[in-house]
Symmetry: C2
Subunit: 549 residues, 2 copies
Amino acid sequence: MGNIFEQDLDRNLANHQPLTPLSYLERAARVYPGRTAIIHGSQKTDYGTFYRRTRQLASALAHKGIGKGDTITVMLSNTPPMLEAHFGVPMTKAVLHSLNTRLDPAIIAFQLDHAETKIAIVDTEFSKVFNEALKLAKVKPIVIDFVDTEYAEDAPHAQGPRIGELDYEAFVQSGDPDYLWSMPDDEWDAITLNYTSGTTGNPKGVVYHHRGAALMGYGNIVASGLGRYPVYLWTLPMFHCNGWCFPWTLALQFGTHVCLRWVRAKPIYDAIADHGVTHLCGAPIVMSTLINAAESDKRTFPQTVSFNTAAASPPESILAGMAEAGFEVTHLYGLTETYGPAVVNEWQDEWNLLSPSSQAVKKSRQGVRYTALENLAVLDPETMEPMPADGETIGEVMFRGNIVMKGYLKNRQASDEAFAGGWFHSGDLGVTYPDGYIQLKDRSKDIIISGGENISSIEVEDALYKFPGVGACAVVARLDEKWGETPLAFVEMKQGCTATAEQLMAHCKGLLASYKCPRHVVFEEIPKTSTGKIQKFELRKRAREIGDL
Amino acid sequence: MGNIFEQDLDRNLANHQPLTPLSYLERAARVYPGRTAIIHGSQKTDYGTFYRRTRQLASALAHKGIGKGDTITVMLSNTPPMLEAHFGVPMTKAVLHSLNTRLDPAIIAFQLDHAETKIAIVDTEFSKVFNEALKLAKVKPIVIDFVDTEYAEDAPHAQGPRIGELDYEAFVQSGDPDYLWSMPDDEWDAITLNYTSGTTGNPKGVVYHHRGAALMGYGNIVASGLGRYPVYLWTLPMFHCNGWCFPWTLALQFGTHVCLRWVRAKPIYDAIADHGVTHLCGAPIVMSTLINAAESDKRTFPQTVSFNTAAASPPESILAGMAEAGFEVTHLYGLTETYGPAVVNEWQDEWNLLSPSSQAVKKSRQGVRYTALENLAVLDPETMEPMPADGETIGEVMFRGNIVMKGYLKNRQASDEAFAGGWFHSGDLGVTYPDGYIQLKDRSKDIIISGGENISSIEVEDALYKFPGVGACAVVARLDEKWGETPLAFVEMKQGCTATAEQLMAHCKGLLASYKCPRHVVFEEIPKTSTGKIQKFELRKRAREIGDL
């Protein structure tokens, strides 16, 4: 007989449609065409217009021959075209690639070539650097200038020249507002591309799919307590993990996007007070900006504003200052590979009874999985067994679920390594507490932060390997009272070769900026996996054991 | 070259997991083990215990050999075992089949046989009727008695005898609370089975899948504005479309289920006042019960309670009474085939400025699609073209998306008909207004409601067909001032045969209860499709045109 629930009960067009965030905008525009979708300076755009413009953008792109598998690169601030691109580009089945606006020409050129960019939309704030990148790149994309008419008069720097053959506004206007976009062929199809900000070597292109972007919308709603009609201020760059997928998320709840080009205290407070902002996201630096703002820049407001932060845990003083200023801080954690935040410090009611310092300790933990992430665990990366939930035993934080990337573009090896054993390996080290909350105990594996500067351990290792006789080496962070962290090198010399710590440090100084050079060198056998991969994990433990040097 | 976004970017365990509501409970229990999940009379169950008990239930079922493709039937009220079954049964990969507790033995027996039930869990409130059904059924399921220790002292009727070989509580306790349940093999796998309440012929078994149940969770959150920690009162039967999927939905927001065996005013008001209920769902009759309650049964409460209603649009007087009593009414619409509600009357702010009667008119419209439904349209069922959005042109309401059933169990023909042309045909007739909201203009195709009694048009047609010489016939509703609707028969006699309206009506009276017999008979050619199917759609139009008879 077989399973009766598998007979004549197949997928068809009526009962199975690809998950995609594109349909969220279609719905919002149909239900609330007159509700404000975007505020940008003096401009207000309603949902009907927003949707029509995204269709115009898609139509204009399609007229240029853009379609499935093509890459559209944007170098844009948190402005309306960035929001339009998040819908208009995938409406053509193409993929949106957002450039970090702080990148230098060489990295931009690499990304353009690697992504095989067909069209680039560039804000003239960044036209000079982009133009430099074009000279270095092999690809020759069509460039479309976006000249922001709302560019602030007190801007920290002027707009650059036009460099493209097309103007963004004219390009959009050339499109058909009734363009019949189609759903993705499959929810597994790519929707966006975001490069990791590797500080050495080539960045990796993280590919998101429609399924994950759609589910992140729901995940964000639950994690951030996004009710109907949120007003969301864009302090988080949209080029960063697609703004943690909030460009799509907001349409689910008919929310209003408040654009913001630069993170400066006065415009933020003005937006909160004038537009009734309910939610914003950002790195801890945004909180400092708000708390340390000049009194004349601050505004009072009646609502409690939800502030989602990630990256580092907010210290007690900042939390207190934020609460006083009318913000409720939620601590999130994730990576580019997990569509932004995939872990939330879900706040327990009874923690409100704790002292402020104990609350800060609770708040510093990364927390529990998003609803849209199916599994989160701290595992032994060798055995893939879970570490004991004792709050002490360190393992690697791993993710499994539908808000984990498709993989790295054109980099099968990196994808295979990242997904080894059926889990996404974050490279972050952490612990699980008895209550199931996780906490990071080490930074991302390749970064050492010394005196506020990022040092790539790989870059230092590359320098060390250039010293004759170095057989294996690994550089990890060592806690340092003054500098926070300093690079500590473990070195294994080839048989018959010798070197002193001083020789190696001098060698590095000839190749690297001084702050990047190892402060200490330990000569010993380096632990490796059965496949010969260095166990940095073990070395970080070893670095803690070593103590004074 | 091909599409670079389709190379080496495949699904794997790390980035693709089946969508299922089961993981919602696992998360809730991990994050808030001590938060109250279920209140039932004097019992309170926290999330940790709820999750452990579902695993015990799953374990005990697995010990009985239950696994993928097996059916577990439950005949339960809105009590904790019903909630436990919604998770515990699918944790074994088996399918949960919920019986409407009002059914008679013959229909129950049919369902047991059709579903091939292996185990049945039966509340002793229904043990007598279930026992009758067992005598009629061919299958011989293991029967587990649930004897509710919270059975109210003022119950409208007594508990029946034990009829099973096992006791529910002992059965659960025999299971392993650490049972390692597994995710579904595929999100398309069946999770539940709900039979439509066809009043004639055999009911159809609507199969839900894990994907749809998971997405309904998110859809409900958005449609009902379910924030964190909702308190949900079970006035809606959980056997009805799995309680519109709220048994699963609540876990997403760490909500509390307040059980309720019978819809009676006093316990409802008590629950609202004592447990801080925030949400409840139910048919219009529940609203009448609340409004018309004796003053001594009413309670005051500080919160505004969200009341979701479906089926019929609430009249102005009821809406006014509900508002006065502290309820905010949302009008939803859907079918068993769409996991319950898939359409929501999304309320526009500006409607609050309308007169109460105009608000009632707006509220009476069924509305717009759920976020989790990808498409909703009023189409011409012949051409499958959309009807003009003029609020007047009637077509068939059709659904397309991920919260449409897998299909009808062991009924390929019915599934094929329901999904013809890539849309789910609801059988309901409606219009689209210029603002995109839909409104039903006719009831489900086969039901005529006369004097509050449901009449199956098919049952009447079956009777008519037994009259010699009837070639084709169709019965539709005709508006009637006194009865609401009465059955109107269109009859086409075979060539050379004749009959009078009186003869046909007398014939029907010999076969049917009097209220079911046609009040009028019209002899004329019956419009049919190219494949010979009667166009009831056209006949309903014709019935309106005919006017006085």
